[in-house]
Amino acid sequence: MTATVTVVEPPDLADKRRALVLAEDRVGHYPEFRDYFVRIFDLDRIGLARPGYLVAPSGGIYELVFVGRSGEAFPCGVEINAIVDALEPIDEGVVDRDLWAILHWMIAGVGTPWSVENLDATGRLYRLPAAGS
């Protein structure tokens, strides 16, 4: 699952809209998570200039908007938008599975002591559909 999430260049957004599907106000609560996004999206150089983009297992594109906050290391937050056809509702089941895959990708990238095995175990403990519970 982890391998099916890839970073891509900004897509053509004509006739598309951004649908907010997940938001994190404190991506640096564990600093290694912030470090991961900084490294993957070159945020120390790019800053707020442009979002990051991912392709998820469904083929859907997700936009990562990084959020800054005075007095805190950048980024302090991240918002994930599904890029969807402008007038079409999102498919919540697809989005949910894609988000789970993005979490896998993130945890695998952050690395030890975090692991996708523990993420899966947590998902099964709480009986998440995307975790195969």
Binding site: L22, D25, H29, Y30, W100, S115, T122, L125
Partner: protein, 333 residues
């Protein structure tokens, strides 16, 4: 949530106004299932505290006993405790922490802090003019309630402490583990697991009671129903991040203050703990409270995991009544 009915304004002894909004039965039943409403028949009241709209119930007359819940519950947790206390001649006040229950639920993470939640409680205590007060603290109702009590001992009669902590890191080995605790509230995982899927109010509480089938039938819907949307569940993953795991924790200074003040506290105190509590195990946590407060009674062990009120509400009420009845009526100043 719609409010229907008249405003009932009454001046509190300290001069501030407490606004009690009477929601229609229709409005309340749109939030809570019928079998939950039957167990929680109390008039909802609301007060403006520290800039937020707080829901609470206020039943009976006499010296006040304030029942404080934590994450991710609300006053309903005390449904089996309230009636015996009221019947015994106490005024029983059960606030819903801002962010939980029927209280306002801020949607910005930075709206929440340990000191802010303690100040919310201080505001309610002042508005209601509470004196000779017994505070019953559970989970995050511990750090917030004890902060309130130790900052205002002149209003206090007694303390009851259940399944909580009040000192710096780390609270338990459980809280240092990657699985499941730290993964559950990790960046983006918390908003997904606890936000989109409401994992703590549903499955999480279920896993932390002894009689799970009884809980599923009688109570689980009460905790899930008041957190209907991901944005309303923010505090369920925000509170875990306030538990200090190292000296850089945001609340470390407040927990150091709490520990120091508790060590000097002479308030009559009762410690009650769940025998099966695996999150805040009695042998570690209840005993540490006992060392901080050597004069405290207990720990009395009752059937219960972390949410011990679900399994032993009437027994907890009996312990509180027997204890408070023997304490001097202090806290008039």
């Amino acid at each position: 949530m719609a409010f229907v009915g008249a405003f009932d304004r009454s001046a509190s002894p300290c001069g501030a106004f407490v606004v009690a909004l009477r929601m229609s039965d229709l409005a309340l039943s749109s939030v809570l299932p019928e079998h939950i409403l039957r167990q929680w028949p109390y008039a909802p009241r609301f007060a403006r505290v520290n800039g937020w709209r707080m829901h609470y119930v206020d039943e009976g007359a006499g010296d006040p006993i304030v029942l404080l819940h934590g994450n991710p519950t609300w006053g309903f947790l005390y449904r089996d405790v309230v009636p015996p206390l009221v019947a015994a001649g106490y005024r029983v006040i059960v606030p819903d922490m801002i962010g939980f229950g029927l209280s306002e639920k801020p949607t910005r993470e930075h709206a929440h802090s340990l000191d802010g939640h303690s100040a919310n409680l201080v505001a309610l205590v002042r508005q209601l003019g509470l004196r000779r007060m017994t505070l019953v603290c559970h989970d995050w109702g511990g750090p917030t309630g004890l902060s309130c009590a130790l900052a205002h001992p002149e209003r206090m009669r007694a303390l009851v402490i259940m399944s909580t902590w009040a000192w710096p890191m780390p609270p338990a080995e459980f809280h240092t583990r990657i699985f499941p605790w730290r993964t559950m509230h990790a960046p983006l995982v918390g908003p997904y697991l606890l936000g989109r899927h409401n994992a703590l109010a549903g499955r999480g509480v279920y896993l932390s009671v002894v009689d799970r089938e009884r809980f599923r039938q009688r109570a689980q819907a009460a905790y899930e129903a008041v957190l209907p949307d991901p944005a309303t569940r923010l505090l369920t993953w925000t509170w875990p991040r306030w538990i200090p795991l190292d000296e850089k924790g945001r609340a470390t200074a407040r927990f150091e203050w709490l520990e120091q003040r508790l060590a000097r506290c002479k308030l009559p105190t009762l410690i009650i703990w769940g025998r099966e509590d695996e999150v805040f195990d009695a042998s570690t946590f209840a005993q540490r409270f006992k060392r901080l407060l050597p004069h405290a009674e207990g720990p009395h062990l009752v059937t219960g995991r972390h949410f011990l009120q679900e399994d032993s509400g009437p027994e907890i009420a009996a312990l509180i009544l027997e204890f408070v009845g023997r304490t001097p009526r202090t806290g008039d100043q």
